[in-house]
């Protein structure tokens, strides 16, 4: 296009409008005819004849005209396209040149954008995975979890028992199919490398309910889901890849699961995730010996009939509970038995919801803050460039052209921001998930979502465009002369006001976010300060689960426990070793109702207490103090009189104001012996640091085995040591391996890390919100600083005059700091009010901190005002150090 001479058609701003093309052609043809006619007349033809002859010579005017118009239109279309590209290229080049010339602005804007886009994309992606991503099953909205609420257990969405599950499809009509499943740790082995995995034991109907097909092979059938059927297993995609190297020939082969050979019948597709389970086996319940109605261990899924509403399903289940109660009056405590259904997504991911919503709200604010900051930066830049724009307008650039240039610049900034921000987001997601295992609900999938990226970048780009358009419109309409002559020093007051509003908005957003971060941070602090009731430091724990196949009697299990403890005790530095079936804060709690001697109705009117089975030294190993009576002693044997140690909470609840020692209670069930209380232990928080201690009683594993006929096969060994517990890891593993090399030790960790991971979610929330709050603070401070220092350069003249007239430096700096503080104070006030109104979003994340905690509000206010003062002080100091004479001469 370089051969297009200057001053060509474009110089006249002639648009290539369709009408213009036709007019041109008409005029050209008319000119030809007139000229020819004149020539003929000059040769002596009569006017009529000359015109007639000229037309004849020309041929069909209409044909020629049509053809020319068509050609020109094509040319115009092509030209418009190339012009557009050319202008775009020019704008892009100009934009990059402009950014290079203002490196401070470019860096600040890019950093802000990258931060906003990166964090928003990361959090939105995580939240999308938890809150919105449809479950990876066909027609997922019809999937439901059926749960029951037993009075006294405190578990609102409890598991069902086997008989209840069997009754469910018979007594309800809301479901096309129901399925039961339960998670358990299993050992996959047989090749000398035993590995503990999370496995699911399910009914065969699970695959019908979820409508899942195997990616390879098949899922198991109802015929395989009975006792005595050939043993089969279905693998998850992850396990198949990790352990079997994605070998397709594994289907049909037997593998060892908990010491028994099971034939692999299929591999699931990768997107099917079920509570983090990696292997699936049929439950194979023997109908002749079904688990009792009192054992609530099954999670139940159902698929709602297409014509049944949620309300109808709940009514149906309420009727089911009533009928269960009526037909089995001895099994339930009073009227306290209800059943309900809720959407599967809610059941699985509901617990993570409050965290996610808080994070979403915060990152939304951060994104807004980033957008405001970029808008502000663009406004400042636009005012600084009024002269440049004026010059370009004077040189003939149209208003549309100028607007387009600024828009291009904004867009390029946004795209560059996205370029840095999206990889940042990927990094954030990965490190968040790595640092905080257990934060995401098992099975939730988190990936950077293309839709999320597009949405976030669009938000920022729109902000940048709006911020780009405002000054562009002003630049476009600016009186050229004013802009050029005054551009260096002038500029509208309206721009200054707008910027002040934007900065105050930034401060307000930062205040709201800091309040959120402060509240969650304080909660986390309080949580960490909670006394769990046991001594977390100096102890190593490891989970061991004995396979049914080889440890088929409680004698064998107990023998293994004894030998293991003996070996572990002998390790150097070990002061105490014990096994417990329910390690506190690790999710493995169980409840068993009891009947207190002398109170026949105690089973019904007392809350079902937690039961903890352990070996003799469980209190010493866990560091739980005995506050009254004694702990278990060597005299307490399998065959001796059953004894128990109870928690303070249980003693208070069962025998308020009385001495619990010597009292007796018994487990509910047929022919249970009385158990004598011999000691009281300090309260322990079994479920979470944020949950108050529950009534708990401790039994010896051998004595419990004799009463219930069942020894705990999955236990946690606890080693209390004098030194660093991690130093014992190798020796402890070796000790267990010597006893049984086929056992897989799953989690060997310190007791402290058990406590730490129990607060993974609050820590996650606190650290993410903290990071966001800090980013917000930095952005707000940069905003205040930017506006003030820019205002100072604009007011240099005025300040110089003031100082020349005798204003003291202190007065001038007070003036500057004062204007900064006014902005900050307005922002803080609005932000705190907004925070008070909005912090209820955080309620679920708070622990012993009120959403309107005054200390946090004050701290945030003081911090922000202090930061704003510091940010104002630097420009103020600079303003007072100028030499008035120099400034005034320079103007």
């Amino acid at each position: 296009m370089s051969d297009r001479p200057s001053g060509w058609r474009r110089a006249f701003h002639l648009p290539f409008a369709a009408r213009r093309v036709e007019v041109d052609v008409d005029e050209e043809i008319a000119f030809h005819l007139v000229m020819r006619e004149e020539r003929l007349r000059a040769r002596g033809l009569a006017p009529e004849d000359a015109r007639e002859s000229a037309r004849r010579r020309f041929g069909d005017v209409e044909d020629v005209r049509r053809e020319c118009v068509e050609i020109d239109r094509q040319r115009a279309r092509r030209r418009r396209a190339t012009d557009f590209l050319e202008d775009l290229m020019q704008d892009v080049v100009l934009a990059f040149r402009g950014l290079r010339r203002a490196p401070g602005f470019a860096a600040a804007a890019l950093l802000t954008l990258a931060l906003g886009i990166g964090s928003a994309t990361a959090i939105f992606s995580v939240a999308y995975g938890v809150l919105l991503r449809p479950l990876p099953f066909p027609d997922p909205d019809r999937l439901t979890e059926v749960s029951i609420n037993l009075a006294g257990t405190g578990d609102e969405y409890g598991s069902l028992s086997w008989p209840e599950y069997v009754d469910l499809p018979r007594w309800t009509r809301s479901f096309t199919a129901v399925a039961a499943w339960t998670l358990r740790d299993r050992t996959v082995g047989g090749d000398g490398h035993p590995e503990r995995i999370t496995a699911a034991s399910t009914s065969a109907s699970l695959w019908d309910v979820l409508r899942v097909r195997a990616a390879m092979g098949r899922t198991y059938t109802a015929e395989e889901d009975v006792a005595g059927a050939p043993l089969v297993v279905v693998l998850s995609d992850a396990l198949w890849r990790r352990r079997f190297g994605a070998d397709p020939s594994v289907v049909g082969r037997p593998i060892q699961v908990d010491g028994l050979p099971r034939t692999v019948v299929g591999v699931l597709p990768p997107e099917v995730r079920l509570g983090g389970a990696e292997a699936f086996t049929p439950m194979g319940i023997d109908p002749a010996r079904p688990p009792g109605r009192g054992r609530h261990f099954l999670r139940v899924l159902g698929r709602l009939r297409p014509d049944v509403s949620w309300a109808q399903a709940r009514e149906d289940l309420a009727a089911f509970a009533t009928r269960s109660l009526r037909e089995n009056p001895t099994n339930y405590i009073g009227p306290g038995f209800t059943a309900t259904a809720r959407p599967l997504r809610e059941a699985w991911y509901g617990a993570a919801r409050p965290t996610m919503i808080a994070l979403l709200a915060t990152v939304g604010l951060l994104l807004l803050l980033a957008a405001v900051n970029v808008a502000n930066l663009l406004l400042v830049r636009a005012e600084a460039r009024q002269r440049e724009m004026g010059v370009r307008a004077a040189l003939g650039a149209g208003r549309g052209r100028l607007v387009r240039q600024l828009l291009t610049e904004s867009l390029i900034l946004s795209l560059l921001g996205a370029l840095v921000g999206v990889p940042l987001a990927a990094l954030c997601v990965r490190s968040l998930l790595a640092i905080n295992p257990g934060v995401m609900p098992p099975g939730a999938e988190v990936a950077i979502d293309a839709g999320v990226v597009v949405a976030v970048v669009a938000v920022v780009a729109i902000a940048a465009l709006v911020a780009g358009v405002a000054p562009a419109l002003r630049a476009g309409s600016a009186d050229v002369r004013t802009a050029i002559t005054a551009g260096g020093a002038g500029g509208g007051r309206s721009g200054g006001r707008l910027r002040s509003v934007l900065v105050a908005t930034e401060v307000a957003l930062a205040a709201a976010m800091l309040v959120g971060a402060g509240l969650v941070g304080r909660s986390f602090q309080k949580l960490l300060a909670v006394d769990p009731g046991f001594a977390a430091e100096g102890a190593l724990v490891m989970d061991v689960s004995l396979p049914n196949a080889r440890y088929d009697t409680s004698t064998k299990v107990i023998a293994f426990h004894d030998q293991a403890i003996e070996r572990l005790r002998a390790l150097p530095g070990v002061r105490a070793a014990a096994a417990t079936a329910s390690l506190p804060l690790s999710g493995g709690t169980s409840q068993w109702s009891v009947e207190v001697e002398g109170r026949p109705n105690s089973k019904k009117d007392l809350e079902t207490p937690f039961i903890v089975n352990g070996t003799r030294d469980v209190f010493r190993a866990l560091g739980i103090a005995i506050v009254q009576g004694r702990a278990f002693s060597p005299e307490d044997q399998e065959g001796s009189a059953p004894v128990t140690v109870v928690s303070q909470a249980l003693a208070r609840k069962f025998w308020p104001g009385q001495d619990p020692l010597g009292r007796r209670f018994r487990l509910t069930g047929p022919d249970m012996p009385w158990i004598t209380v011999v000691g009281v232990a300090r309260d322990v928080r079994p479920e979470a640091l944020s949950e108050p201690p529950k009534p708990t009683y401790y039994l010896l594993i051998p004595q419990f085995a004799r009463m219930a006929g069942d020894a705990d096969q999955g236990v946690t060994f606890v080693l209390r040591t004098a030194g660093d517990p991690t130093a014992l890891t190798g020796a402890a593993r070796a000790a267990i391996a010597e006893l049984d090399p086929e056992l897989a030790l799953n989690k060997v960790q310190t007791l402290e890390s058990v406590v730490a991971s129990s607060v993974a979610r609050p820590r996650f929330a606190a650290s993410v919100l903290g990071a966001f709050g800090l980013s917000a603070l930095v952005l707000a401070v940069v905003g205040v600083y930017g506006v003030l220092s820019y205002a100072m350069t604009r007011r240099r003249h005025e300040l110089a005059v003031r100082m020349a007239l005798g204003a003291r430096p202190g007065h001038v700096s007070r003036l500057v700091v004062g204007s900064g503080m006014r902005l900050a104070a307005a922002g803080v006030a609005v932000g705190l009010v907004a925070a008070i109104a909005g912090s209820r979003v955080l309620t679920a994340l708070l622990y012993e901190v009120s959403p309107t905690d005054p200390a946090t509000l004050v701290a945030v206010g003081v911090t922000l005002l202090g930061a704003a003062a510091a940010a104002s002080w630097l420009p103020a100091w600079r303003a007072t150090t100028v030499n008035p004479a120099e400034v005034l001469r320079g103007e």
Binding site: D3, R4, W8, R9, D24, V25, E27, E28, I29, F31, H32, V34, M35, R36, R39, R56, R57, F58, G59, D60, V61, D63, V64, E67, C68, I71, D72, Q74, R75, R78
Partner: protein
């Protein structure tokens, strides 16, 4: 003039226009007059076909146009050839000469025999 003659001319019209413009910018009528003069008025009927040819050349980027004022103070659309147009002419003209001579020579032949070398 016979139809055959018009077809022949039209195919070489592009070349004639480029030649006409080789002396400097001309409006369409001036191009027509030059062709009339240079070819002995071969285009006396269907002179208008010159215009689609001009516009086509413009679309191809071989000529460009500009509105200007004639000596008789009329607005007229002036054409001039571009660098690409000049290059095109230089490439086409010798080819046309060879072609024309070959055809002319062939048409002058008097014997069906192929002259032995």
């Amino acid at each position: 003039m016979a139809d055959a003659e018009i077809d022949l001319l039209r195919s070489s019209l592009d070349l004639l226009i480029l030649k006409a413009l080789s002396w400097g910018p001309k409006h369409g009528y001036a191009v027509a007059e030059w062709i009339e003069y240079a070819t002995g008025d071969a285009l006396s009927v269907g002179e208008g076909t010159l215009y689609p040819a001009l516009h086509r050349l413009e679309r191809k980027g071989w000529v460009e146009s500009e509105w200007g004022i004639t000596d008789s103070n009329r607005r007229a659309k002036y054409y001039r050839h571009t660098a690409a147009g000049r290059a095109r002419y230089r490439a086409e003209a010798p080819a046309w000469h060879r072609y024309a001579e070959a055809i002319a020579g062939a048409l002058r032949a008097t014997s069906p025999e192929i002259a032995s070398a």
